[in-house]
Amino acid sequence: MQQKSLTIALAGNPNSGKTTLFNNITGTRQKVGNWPGVTVEKKEGIIHKHGYNLKIIDLPGTYSLTPFSIEEIVARNFILEECPDVVIDIIDSSNLERSLYLATQLRELDCCKVLFALNMADLARSRGIQIDADKLSELLDVPVVFTIGNKNQGIDILLKKAIELGESNAVVPQSRRVKYSQDIEHSIAQLQNFIEEKKNNIFLYNTRWAAIKLLEDDKIIKERILQKVGNSGHEILQQAQLQRKYLIDRFNDDPEIVMTDERYGFIVGIIKEVMTTSTRQRVDISRNIDLILTNRFLGFPIFIFFIWAMFQMTFSLGAYPMQWIDSGINLFSASLDGLLPNSLLKNLLLDGIVAGVGSVIIFLPNILILFFCIAIFEDTGYMARAAFLMDKIMHLIGLHGKSFIPMLMGFGCNVPAIMATRTLESEKDRILTILITPFMSCSAKLPIYIILAGTFFSAKAGTVIFAIYFIGILTAILSGRLFRSTLLKGVDAPFVMELPPYRVPMIKSLLIHMWDRSKMFLKKMGGVILIGSIIIWTLSAFPRNITYSTDYESQIKKVKANYLTEFTTGNENTKDSIEKKRDAAISKILMAQKAEKIEKSYMGKIGKAFEPLFSPIGIDWRGSVALLSGFVAKEIVVSTLGILYATEAEVESDALKKALLASNMTSSAALSMMVFVILYLPCLATVSTIRRETGSLKWTLFSMGYSTLIAWGVAFLIYQGCRMMGLG
């Protein structure tokens, strides 16, 4: 039997519990992708219920369908052009009045079947809010279902109703819509008639709705009409202009403003009929929490504590699984070593792929924990408070408090961070945030600091790493100010941001959240980092025929011969220690050979070619090679250093530490290298994200060039400054 299918779109305000509901409906069978052409996340899932294939699409959370932000444009276009069978509007029952704004706009579209889900019904009840669903259903002529998303209640009924609605051939009712004041209704009617006359049967939209949008001067609809209707489209727009002018004269204000006012007036009328609030004052827990968390004196200390705790969790707690993974990789590497015959392929596998990817996968625990913490911040509602606290400071850089969120995420990984700039409404804010987010040191850079600071500043490593992060933040602030007053002048976006009530996060959605983002990291590993590791290995393994400065083979033979004579003459007791000494001497020679081999490889040659550029900031050819390889992915820097310093086990940081200490690297050079790392051009994955999010090659190249120049300048100042102060 062929199953019937229906498309159901979920619409709703941010914080209405839409995502929780979506997660509960689709479970883990969801696909996360992008909406075509734009970079807003698109989530969809297919489920089988009641004999139907249901395709559920999670529209971006919006407060209205006025096309200001990308999210709103995406949501509206989907409904208008893809015509889903049913749109479920998820309404936060404890916040009915504002939620109804989107709801009335959805109703006004008049092009699809709408179903209301009064979500968080329990929360509303606990606040003493009573909603008469039957009345609401009758007033707006829409089926209404109560749901409690986080307790999985009402979802079955919701889906059943949606199927029922999708299958009914009921024409979308025309009667119960927003009624505007007489003058506006008059203009709507006139314009609607005019459109009916001129549309030539090819009109795209419901004519009343189109008339309303034209009176609101909706640019997207105007363009679409011109495209589709051709010449008479111009006449329609002219007529709309006339009506707009009339209304502006009449109300002394823009029609879109008057209509927004009137829509709310209409909503107030509905609220009066369907909602009763018991007057008894209740303890508002969320408000009490906020008394502390955004308190004038406690707000910032608590905020800083949370951030500190997040980084502590990430790095101290993450250290244990890191050790397990480390030993796992060593074991794997050792067993492969034993299994495979010596060949070039084995070298590629062990020294290139296993060593390269291994040194990256080890950070998976850190990344999982970090994203888990960020998910907690988002799902509890604390992220909005962070933006509230930080807005004044962000505003000084010329940014929105919301920009703080992507910048904070930049400490995890720049790729999702830059994607998170989509929440910003103004294009300029978005570009500015994208330009300065890479200065937030991502977690992939951390191992570099851990190795360098741990080696050269052992006791003060924590302080040094903190200072490095601080330099990054300071650079971001100063660059932000610079760009805002030069390249990206303009009015700031309004800071109209909802502070949603605090919620206990659901473990399921935290895990989905965490997994979505960690998947990006894993994908990066499978693709970019694997390729990067192979390239780096190839560059360092070729050319194969190198003429060495000394004959290492004969040196080894000589050592063996020397010890052999000692061995035969010595007594039984010293044999062991002699053997050990011999092995140490041999491995020293082998190490020197390996180092020379890399020095003479393509990699070494590239590094040496760049050396003149890097030597003023105290970085030798090995450092330059490592930094160049960091363009592929920052995680590779450490593994490249490992290969270049010819330590035996690349993934084992202790060996690299010893090798670094034995090299001629100084502590000021280490400092300079760390500063360079935090500021210089972001990794390939980030660059491609910047390209995608700004949609401009110019900004991408600018970002790469600017960050590298700044990095060099600051590293130069620090290196030369340290040397002048005699810090070695």
């Binding site: 709310y264 004044k392 309004p494 800071f495 909802e498 949603p500």
Partner: protein, 75 residues
């Protein structure tokens, strides 16, 4: 008086929402409309932005934006 001049814990009724263009419409769409009751919950630790309660939910607004909104004080 202006919304930006209100103190913590003060309540008012919106008389007029000024400002221009997209910003003004965005403010209106969030329910900060004429005749709505508005309560100043608090100012952020750095005195900007401010947290308001309107139509039963909490929303934040910068002081400079609040300066576009005229209020009738309700005691």
């Amino acid at each position: 008086m202006l919304l930006s001049e209100m103190k913590e814990g003060q309540k008012g009724r919106i008389v007029q929402v000024g400002g221009t263009g997209a910003l003004r419409r965005r403010i209106l769409e969030m329910g900060i409309v004429k005749d709505a009751e508005i309560y100043v919950e608090k100012y952020a630790p750095l005195r900007d932005p401010m947290e308001l309660i309107v139509k039963g939910y909490h929303v934040s607004l910068r002081v400079e934006e609040a300066a576009c909104i005229t209020i009738d004080d309700i005691r």
